[in-house]
């Protein structure tokens, strides 16, 4: 024991003299190991860790798909009566929960906050069994059709809006004119399953009966409703694929009977599918995780190559010490232990830094990436992290020790002493140095190339032309808070609000339209002449919309003021829509279509396509005019002016107390949010590329400066014989050219084999841009190689030769 302690003391005493060496090892290994631990823990949580719910492996999300007559999935969503049918009739699941995601204003609170409300059946509580701070879960008393107005709060809602008040159970919330008594508060530890949107946090849970589906939709088998999901717990012994079949039969039979006689759905059918909750939540992040791991492992390899070089150079320095130990009787094993004491000491320090880095990484992911990556809230330094950390550190320490140890020729050590150190051939072998250069160049090229591809892809999405203007445009929506106003009054209030906004000096115009960035539901239409069926996205705009967002009208006319006032049955379509109908887009103007409710609409114009931020393809769109009661407003501001929420709210309050501002956001801000994952990808890739670049530069510099030091006398002699500075730099560059080229060739081979192995995943990246990216990667890596060649010799060539020749 004491010898071990002694060895570590000695190792520390030796290391203390070389703080640069300590810093290089601890920082390089600490940062890269930390990053690796971070992504490994994330991968472990996502791929291995069970979901934090009882019997989580039996939890499934149950989906309904509507398949059209040509066998395509027309929609993956439920219709309301179908969902209720499933809820009552299914027998394969022991528990089943319906979820309806919505957001509402809580009018009973002074701040009138917008909150995410989720309407659930009591099965939800049984499925997830979230721990409560106080109160109770929903139960039979909140079963469907009980209409019991109670609410459960999230921990965050309780803290934020009730300041964690102990008596919160005696309070109520008023939402949509209904007063909900608070009956429970969930614990902070409860992790909401991210089945709707990654990062979505419900603030208030309400009983299913209060979901906002209008009564007329209760029997609407012919439409689908978006934010409704079903989760269930499969009965033991049942197989998912069989359950899918029996559910499909059950649901399809019922649906077919319900829509019989509706010509539109001739030949359509319903398909049911179940997917384990875990893979639902994982979504398509598996690929992202694998990419991250590959990137970080690449970084770690570069760091290991760098540090190997440092360890070898250090072993050369220490040869005399080691020789003295050998001469006084240290055996090979002793020398190994000495070297291991040093490397394990260094890597333990790196380990501490790595854990710190991982911890910081978790914080960053939780605060910035919770909308992109699922389950990040479950991340923490856990047993898995610690065990991986120790294993990785130990492997690295053993690796570096073995490397140093292999360099020592035990018998030759004695010679070192006799030959007084001068002119010994004890140095890092040329082949090893070349191997290090080849591997650095190969890994760095691959990583930089791959990351540039990711950046390019993100950038092309970010910078894609949208076909409409968002700058200085603000979207505002208004909701009723008080007792339901009659529609006459509502249209007056909304018009007044629009007029008063328009009178503000900073406002250029107000259009009563839905935000161009809002995803609207699709509607099934039939072209009257051809009976062709199309399911465009339906948007509501007014007469000023097109000019306000600068979206070009290609043919025909836009809506007129009269169309809106008289509620004329006219629509606009976009170019993608028109292309479905006719190759001559102009022909579409004047055609008629119907929504299946008896009214015939005439197409009066064709507008240009637009692209939503974060996507690359235009949607098929149909535009109806807004109603005069609509509560959506698009405001154009003068450049560099702002409209505060308070100002808008004040105007609205001045008109009526029955309404409040629901949403107010500049379109550019919404766009940023929609592009968040692209930005995240671009930033992550850029930082990865930058770190790769730095590590590779440092590593190549380390190897080449060691080589240059070895050649100092040779270079000095050449200069004494009349070699100019340029010739010396050229010599060093020339001698490394082959090695670097080998590195490039290796990287091409690696990338090519990756492509062959994963061509399905990587096909999206194949394109013209690869040439440019290759050229940029090649020139950047060449550049750092040139730098690494030049920098170590600059000290020798920029001063009188005698300094280089002298010891």
């Amino acid at each position: 024991m004491s010898t071990v302690l002694y060895q570590y003391k000695q190792a520390w005493a030796g290391l203390k003299k070389t703080p640069g060496f300590i810093l290089s090892v601890v920082i390089s290994m600490g940062l890269t190991l930390g990053a690796l631990l971070c992504v490994l823990t994330l991968a472990n949580v996502l791929l291995n860790d069970p979901l934090p719910y009882p019997e989580q492996e039996s939890l499934y999300k149950i989906d309904q798909s509507l398949i059209n007559d040509s066998g395509e999935e027309w929609a993956k969503a439920y219709n309301y009566p179908g969902m209720m049918h499933l809820y009552k009739k299914q027998e394969a699941f022991s528990e089943i929960g319906l979820l309806y995601y919505d957001y509402n204003i809580v009018s009973s609170l002074a701040t009138q906050p917008n909150v995410n409300t989720t309407f659930v059946t009591p099965g939800w509580a049984d499925l997830f069994q979230g721990e409560l701070v106080m109160g109770r879960h929903f139960s039979d008393s909140e079963e469907v059709n009980t209409h019991n107005p109670v609410a459960i709060l999230s921990y965050q809602m309780w803290q934020q809006e009730f300041q964690g008040a102990e008596d919160v159970l005696s309070k109520s919330l008023i939402i949509n004119d209904v007063s909900f008594r608070i009956v429970g508060v969930l614990a902070q530890s409860f992790v909401e399953p991210e089945i709707y949107n990654v990062g979505y946090k419900t603030q208030v849970w309400l009983p299913w009966d209060f979901n906002p589906t209008p009564e007329r939709a209760f029997q609407a088998w012919n439409r689908v409703q978006e934010p409704m999901l079903v989760v269930g717990k499969l009965k033991p012994g049942l197989v998912a694929s069989q359950v899918e079949q029996s559910l499909t039969t059950m649901m399809d039979d019922t649906w077919q009977q319900a829509v019989v006689g509706d010509e539109y759905f001739n030949g359509w059918r319903i398909d049911m599918s179940v997917q384990s909750l875990k893979s639902t939540i994982l979504g398509d992040t598996e690929r992202t995780i694998l990419l991250l791991i590959a990137g970080v492992v690449g970084l770690l390899l570069i760091a290991i190559a760098n540090i190997s070089n440092l360890f070898m150079a250090r072993t050369v320095q220490k040869q005399r010490d080691l020789a003295i130990c050998a001469s006084v009787g240290a055996k090979k094993r002793h020398l190994f232990n000495m070297l291991f004491a040093e490397s394990s000491l260094l890597l333990s320090m790196a380990l501490l830094l790595a854990l710190l880095v991982a911890h910081t990484g978790f914080d960053i992911m939780q605060s910035h990436l919770s909308d992109v990556l699922p389950r990040v809230n479950e991340l923490s330094i856990n047993g898995f992290t610690l065990v991986s950390a120790v294993i990785l550190t130990l492997l690295c320490a053993l690796g570096f020790t073995a490397l140093s140890n292999n360099m020592l020729n035990y018998r030759a050590l004695n010679l070192v002493l006799r030959s007084s150190g001068k002119g010994t051939s004890f140095q890092v072998a040329k082949s090893i140095r070349q191997l290090l250069i080849v591997s650095q160049v190969a890994i760095a090229s691959c990583l930089v190339f791959a990351n540039f591809n990711l950046i390019e892809q993100a950038y092309s999405v970010i910078s894609a032309p949208y076909g409409f203007t968002m700058e200085n445009r603000v979207y505002v929506s208004v909701m009723t808070t008080g007792t339901k106003a009659d529609s006459e009054e509502k249209s007056v209030v909304m018009s007044q609000f629009a007029q008063q906004l328009e009178q503000l000096p900073q406002v250029r115009g107000v259009s009563r339209s839905v935000s161009p960035l809002r995803n609207m539901g699709s509607r099934a239409i039939t072209m009257e002449a051809s009976k062709q069926k199309i399911t465009p996205e339906l948007k509501y705009i007014d007469d000023k919309y097109l000019s306000m967002v600068e979206q070009p009208l290609l043919y025909g006319n836009t809506f007129s003021r009269e169309d809106i006032l008289d509620n004329t049955p006219v629509v606009l379509v976009n170019a993608s829509f028109a292309k479905r109908v006719s190759t001559d887009l102009q022909q579409v103007v004047g055609q008629t279509l119907s929504f299946g409710d008896g009214t015939i609409y005439t197409v009066i114009g064709v507008v240009a396509d637009t692209i939503m931020p974060g996507t690359t393809e235009p949607k098929v769109q149909l535009f109806k005019h807004t109603s005069i009661r609509g509560g959506s407003f698009l405001i154009e501001l003068a450049p560099d002016y702002e409209l505060s929420r308070e100002q808008a709210a004040q105007i609205l309050r001045g008109i009526s107390s029955q309404y409040s501002l629901f949403e107010m956001k500049p379109l550019m801000q919404t766009r940023m949010r929609m592009l968040f994952s692209q930005f995240t990808m671009a930033i992550t890739s850029a930082s990865l590329a930058l770190v790769t670049f730095l590590l590779a530069s440092i590593g190549l510099y380390g190897i080449l400066s060691y080589t240059t030091q070895l050649r100092r006398f040779e270079l000095g002699t050449r200069m004494a014989l009349g070699a100019k500075r340029f010739a010396i730099v050229g010599l060093v560059i020339g001698e490394n050219t082959m090695t670097v080229v080998l590195g490039f060739i290796a990287s091409v081979i690696i990338l090519f084999s990756l492509y062959i192995g994963f061509s399905a995943d990587l096909n999206a990246y194949i394109g013209d841009q690869l040439i440019l990216i290759s050229v940029i990667t090649l020139s950047l890596i060449t550049w750092i190689c040139l730098f690494a060649c030049y920098w170590p010799v600059r000290a020798y060539i920029n001063r009188p030769v005698i300094n280089t020749l002298r010891e």
């Binding site: 006398f713 050449r718 014989l721 009349g722 070699a723 500075r725 010739a727 060539i797 009188p800 030769v801």
Partner: protein, 236 residues
């Protein structure tokens, strides 16, 4: 007589953190074509410093230095390299041959850095001629570490000759050699001088110093030359 080298009032001061060393003090020196000059003196008196300034490996702190009438005291590093390549041949105490290159390539090296590139044949002819001068033609394809010390030094002399320099600078050529090899090297040098090569040699060995026509004694950075005492007095 044509003077090849002329130093006037040349000084070299080394500045380190603790102290200033006046390695050379107001040196005045002329070396004429065909001369054989030896420089000797106690350790630390400035011999190597003087030789590296003569060889443009280092810069004087003050004073002037002329090579064939051209002032070379303030040349840039690359200009100095050019003058070194064309006018000066070096013979180091530790030979300074490059291990990876063959004897032939070592000798040819200065020609490769020459301003005017020569044809391969001309180069071969020249290198072979120089190797003949030192009696090493039969070893042209060997690597330096396959040769004895004396042989290595003779290759180094051939290398110093190859660019037909105006002056050969020699720093303790026999310092790393036994007396037999040393004598052989000195014979080669003497023969070269007889054939017209100008030599300037630093040596400890009084025997070898005596072989030179002009014998300079350095002491504490100052030259004592019995023949030039008056000139020195003026300088001091």
């Amino acid at each position: 007589m044509d003077s090849i080298i002329k130093l006037s009032q040349l000084s070299k001061v080394f500045e380190t953190e603790e102290l200033q060393t006046h390695a050379l003090k107001d040196i005045n020196l002329t070396i004429n074509k065909g001369d054989y000059v030896s420089i000797s003196g106690p350790s630390g008196c400035g011999k190597s410093t003087l030789l590296s300034i003569l060889g443009l490996l280092d810069m004087p702190t003050s004073g002037q230095y002329f090579v064939e009438g051209r002032d070379v005291s303030q040349l840039s590093l690359d200009e100095a390299a050019e003058v070194r390549n064309e006018k000066i041949g070096f013979i180091f105490q530790s030979f300074n041959l490059i291990d990876e290159l063959s004897v032939f390539d070592n000798v040819a090296l200065p020609l490769r850095y020459h301003r005017e590139k020569q044809s391969d044949e001309a180069m071969k002819e020249r290198v072979t001629w120089c190797l003949e001068q030192v009696g090493m033609t039969h070893r042209a394809s060997h690597k330096p570490n396959q040769l004895s010390g004396g042989q290595q030094q003779r290759v180094a002399i051939a290398r110093a000759l190859v660019a037909d320099p105006a002056l050969l600078l020699v720093d303790e050529p026999t310092g790393n050699l036994d007396s037999k090899s040393g004598d052989m090297v000195m014979d080669v040098l003497e023969r070269l001088n007889k054939n017209g090569t100008t030599l300037c040699m630093v040596t400890h060995d009084p025997r070898y110093a005596d072989m030179a026509r002009t014998q300079l004694k350095l002491s504490d950075g100052v030259i004592f030359n019995p023949a030039n005492m008056t000139q020195q007095k003026v300088a001091v």
